[in-house]
Assembly symmetry: C2
């Protein structure tokens, strides 16, 4: 059944959405059946792939207006589907507060997709609200993207503690698949210091692949394309392609 992965970091702007789009596309290029799910009411994942986020999406599935299977949309990339999100999802953090079983909404709603895909990858918002907690109860793996910046290190320990407490109380299968350095610039002293500190502390958890800062990655979303369709020879594309190999090795 499907490998369920979420990209999570409550620190904002660390490359969660960019990583979901391009890891997903790389796995699809390698022939895996991949579904991406937008759990962020900003809908950046949906717009990065020119998906129609006025069509029924994550909010409609979680409020049982449509089934998960019906909400899957094809993208321009073969083997790559998406479930979109829009501003409706923002209200769910409040709507779910007083509901029985509020932590299992995502897990229950997405159960029917388990055999249709090899990888299901979720993009989370930069917060640890109820929707995000729901994705931690559903997922089997967490990937933590982090910028090589001082402020990005601050929240890492508290994030690890949150994942550990969900694993203990709500989802024994949950594992941290790895920490992914994003927007890395070799020539910056601070970046190298952060990489050294985090690698010394978390050792094998850190992915060998580092995603370099590459302006082509920030241009691709304005064309609604993953990097492989926008500029397949750039450094960003090569890095995400290499990451997909590492993810497959860790998972399979």
């Amino acid at each position: 059944s499907a490998n369920k992965i979420i990209f999570l970091n409550q620190k904002g702007g660390v490359g969660k959405t960019t990583s979901v789009v391009n890891l997903g596309a790389a796995l699809a290029l390698r022939g895996k059946r991949v579904l991406l799910i937008d759990f962020d009411s900003q809908g950046n994942l949906s717009s990065s792939l020119s998906a129609d986020n006025s069509a029924p999406g994550t909010y409609d599935i979680l409020t049982e207006q449509i089934s998960a299977k019906e909400a899957c949309q094809k993208t321009s990339i073969n083997n790559l589907d998406i479930i979109t999100a829009n501003i409706d999802l923002a209200g769910l953090n409040i709507e779910l507060v007083n509901v029985e079983n509020r932590n299992y909404y995502v897990k229950n709603a997405l159960a029917e997709l388990e055999n249709s895909y090899d990888y299901i990858i979720g993009d989370c918002p930069p917060s640890l609200g109820l929707v995000t907690i729901n994705t931690l109860v559903w997922a089997s793996y967490v990937i933590i993207p982090m910028q090589c910046e001082y402020l990005a290190m601050e929240g890492l320990n508290s994030l690890m503690r949150t994942v550990a407490s969900i694993k203990r109380s709500l989802n024994q299968d949950l594992t941290i698949l790895g920490i992914l350095f994003t927007m890395f610039t070799k020539r910056t002293k601070l970046a190298n210091e952060v990489v050294e500190d985090v690698t010394q502390y978390f050792d094998n958890l850190v992915f060998k692949t580092k995603i370099p800062r590459n302006v082509r990655l920030s241009e691709a979303p304005s064309h609604g394309l993953p990097i492989f369709a926008y500029d397949k020879h750039c450094l960003g594309a090569k890095a995400y392609y290499k990451l997909s190999k590492e993810v497959i090795t860790r998972v399979e």
Copy 2:
């Protein structure tokens, strides 16, 4: 009485915290009495100024365990005080849901500070939860920091709509003081396109001052210092000093 300003953008990593620290410090250098308030449970504002975020802070004020005046801490900069935040604040978005008057907690708790400062500046988390809504009900001005990136433009209209709806229903005094471009790189085509698009659409709302991408700004927090104490001659320091002049002109 004090000019109450919040830095708000639900898009993550756009320079909210960096702007609050350095605009605050620049106003203090110009002799204004300034208080910074951390409304983000990540506590990045607190750590950027080496403040003690285990001392009573925003959460303790909003749950009425301590008064706002008692929670003000001095920083290493003259005329610059801070109220800190830590992970406790994350729970408040849920705790406040079923409470009477839940939108006025910040406004009521901070009323006693109005005459002690010239500027009170709040740093918001990258989400539009109940704590953030509370800051919109309290503030007189909103500054929207935005990166010159495609994905950052996506959320701008929905943010403007949120501010307009709070102004209509909960806080008639609320005004958008301006849109601030951050991490701007002159040589990137995408950055110039975004600046052009946003300026054409929002015209006078856009601050003339653009904050350049400058690695010194991302190094300063690891020393717990605003940019003026870390490297007062760098481009980042000059830009925030210039911004403080523009803010004073718009406000006073």
